[in-house]
């Protein structure tokens, strides 16, 4: 779409992010004022919305566009006994409040038990609501996930949730742009999760501050949509406002035919427009970063921020070797919290739990990858393994493929959909001192339960760790006896 009614759109090569931004300008801000940006899709969940609806009620304002708003329950929902009332009173209150607000204002809501319920960032794409060239917001920082489609998608605070509900717009200053180019071929066993963990370790947990990251290069183009979502999901862990990937045929094929995907002539119009979105030749970014895909290996975090990561084949770093005094102090604190000794090979670190889930890695491909490693193998003694699908639909899909049987035969718990142990707002929490290999996105102190220790990993590493009991990649596992082997992921 050209945006003829708004002046001030530059006539020069533009980046993907600039194009999407420009096409959503309602008012171009003058003299340091922010732009007013139109929001195409507003995702809502129970944690960050109650105070926003409260605000609307207080001012007597309606929801401006119910047809651009959708809500689901995810952060507080139990993953067991979902037919029983939620035991935790405050969790129940938050969910009941969302139900009341949705009914009162007329917002479409997918409640616990509904086939479309699940983590908000899994639900949008699977319904076909997330598509290229749109703006997506949600009161949740991992809204960056939707950028995988070439959408401008970012997390907002509760005041902004209220603002979008009331006006369908947001006053914002344009973000800076950073190109992150990953060229080459990923080795077998190296996944999107490893790539993004390596990027965050390289640029730091604040390296993306103020930027929209655009992931590009041959290694990114070869990723599936689900892998791209994993990458964009964790853009926020580099401090970025959003992550984006130029839409291509892989994107269009993923969107096509989904419930809310455009149909007929609308589809043709959409694809024609979407093809104009990739960054122009000669477009200038505010910053650029390069990575060689051929050099990447499975990655793991050792500390308490997502930038504190190394290759799994490496050892726990020595703080004294870190030049920056702030970073060194942070590393010392982190190692103390994580109870790790510098120089220890990460593969010698034993875990108590494995969490397979979260909006980073809980889609069907993630579950398939996890299952492909554990199938025919035995779980390490004493390791608690939990598999939590991202949505009720993913759960059904996995069951149709028989993955649930692979999980339960292995001794893993097969749960109902939700955020679960990603942040432990429901009963799924680590006990103090417990160590977990987790496919989620944050390893902050206490994130998965007070005193819990988190190592962020890919689904393949999570699975191999569940087999060996120490942090491991599939290449560390003994081969499966021939008769039990199905599909091998790793040579």
């Amino acid at each position: 779409m050209s945006n003829p009614d708004v002046s001030g759109i530059p006539d020069r090569p533009r980046t993907l992010a600039e194009k999407v931004w420009d096409d959503h300008l309602v008012v171009k801000g003058e003299d340091g004022q922010p732009d007013l940006i139109y929001i195409d899709l507003h995702l809502v969940h129970e944690v960050t919305s109650p105070q926003a609806f409260d605000g609307l009620r207080a001012e007597g304002r309606p929801v401006r566009r119910l047809d651009l708003t959708i809500a689901t329950e995810d952060h507080n929902t139990p993953t067991l006994d979902i037919d029983k009332p939620i035991a935790d009173l405050t969790s129940r209150t938050q969910i009941e409040t969302l139900r009341r607000n949705a009914a009162e204002f007329g917002v479409r809501l997918h409640s616990l038990g509904d086939k479309e319920q699940g983590i908000v960032h899994v639900v949008g794409p699977q319904l076909g609501l997330t598509m290229p060239g749109i703006t997506v917001v949600c009161g949740d920082s991992h809204t960056s996930t939707h950028g995988a489609f070439g959408a401008m998608a970012f997390g907002i605070g509760t005041s902004e949730v209220e603002h979008v509900l009331a006006t369908q717009t947001l006053p914002l200053k344009p973000f800076k742009t950073m190109a992150i180019t990953v060229e080459g071929d990923l080795k077998p066993g190296v996944t999107a999760k490893d790539v993004i963990l390596a990027i965050i370790a390289k640029i730091g947990a604040n390296g993306g501050q103020g930027y929209v990251l655009e992931f590009r290069g041959s290694a990114i183009r070869s990723l599936s949509m689900e892998g791209r979502m994993t990458m964009c999901n964790m853009s926020i862990e580099a401090g970025a406002r959003a992550g984006m990937i130029a839409p291509d045929d892989i994107t269009f094929d993923y969107v096509k035919g989904r419930d809310h995907a455009p149909k007929g002539q609308d589809w043709e119009d959409a694809v024609a427009y979407w093809r104009t979105l990739p960054s122009d030749e000669g477009a200038v970014y505010d910053a650029e970063v390069y990575l060689d895909a051929n050099e990447l290996e499975p990655f793991v975090t050792w500390g308490t921020n997502p930038g504190q990561g190394v290759m799994l084949s490496d050892v726990v770093p020595t703080p004294a070797d870190i030049a920056d005094p702030n970073e060194r102090a942070a590393a010392e604190r982190a190692l103390e919290y994580m109870d790790l000794v510098p120089g220890t090979p990460l593969k010698d670190v034993p875990v108590d739990a494995v969490f397979m889930g979260s909006c980073t890695n809980s889609r069907i491909e993630d579950l398939r990858a996890f299952a492909s490693v554990i199938e025919g193998r035995t779980k390490a003694d004493g390791v608690h393994v939990m598999v939590v699908p991202g949505s009720a639909r993913v759960r059904l899909e996995a069951e149709a493929e028989g993955l649930d049987k692979v999980f339960t035969d292995f001794g893993a718990e097969w749960r109902f959909a939700g955020c679960s142990m990603c942040l432990g707002m429901n009963p799924d929490q680590l006990a103090p001192g417990e160590r977990c290999a987790s496919t989620s996105n944050r390893n902050f102190e206490g994130r998965q339960g007070k005193g819990g220790r988190t190592h962020l990993v890919s689904p393949l590493v999570a699975a191999a760790t569940a087999v060996r009991g120490t942090l491991s990649s599939p290449s560390d596992l003994d081969p499966i006896p021939a008769h039990a082997a199905t599909e091998t992921v790793e040579a």
């Binding site: 779409m1 009614d5 959708i70 605070g157 005041s159 809310h260 119009d269 102090a329 942040l423």
Partner: protein, 198 residues
Amino acid sequence: MEKFTTHTGIAAPLKRSAVDTDQIIPAVYLKRVTKTGFEDALFANWRQDPAFVLNQPAYQGASVLVAGPDFGTGSSREHAVWALRDFGFHVVLSSRFADIFRGNAGKQGLVAGVVSESDIEAIWAAIEAEPGISMTVDLQALRATIGDIEVAFDIDDYTRWRLLEGLDDIGLTLRDEEKISQFEARREAWRPRTLPVP
């Protein structure tokens, strides 16, 4: 929103870097559905330690928090700002803030002022020389004074203007209602709809 011009209150030093939102307010407190009453949740884990700075008698009633770099990283939870505000803070100073946190702060009348790292060190030294000392933060002049130290701080112009005027965001935007309707009239049919089109 109340207008913010100048604030004077006890300054508390938080000598840690990268204070993330899980530390400011642990996730368990996000279950509440009200917009106030989060004072008990602020730094809940750290406050269990009697030695934690906000537990010390000198800093009771503190309203200016002077923190290390990268304050407010992590999640978008606005509760982090509510908790600071409900606890009694009007101002947070740091050499660097996470973007979402800074945006949220401005919307709730909490001044998130950027001060150079060396000035933060100087302020910490001044506080430690006289625990419980007051600080004055002048949003009009963009200066903060403590004892005989005066430092400049930074906040983006738009947020400053809105804080000084006490302006509500939604009301401001709705002044452009006509332009929003015009934009909606030219949106393409392929864009997503969550409900069947009537």
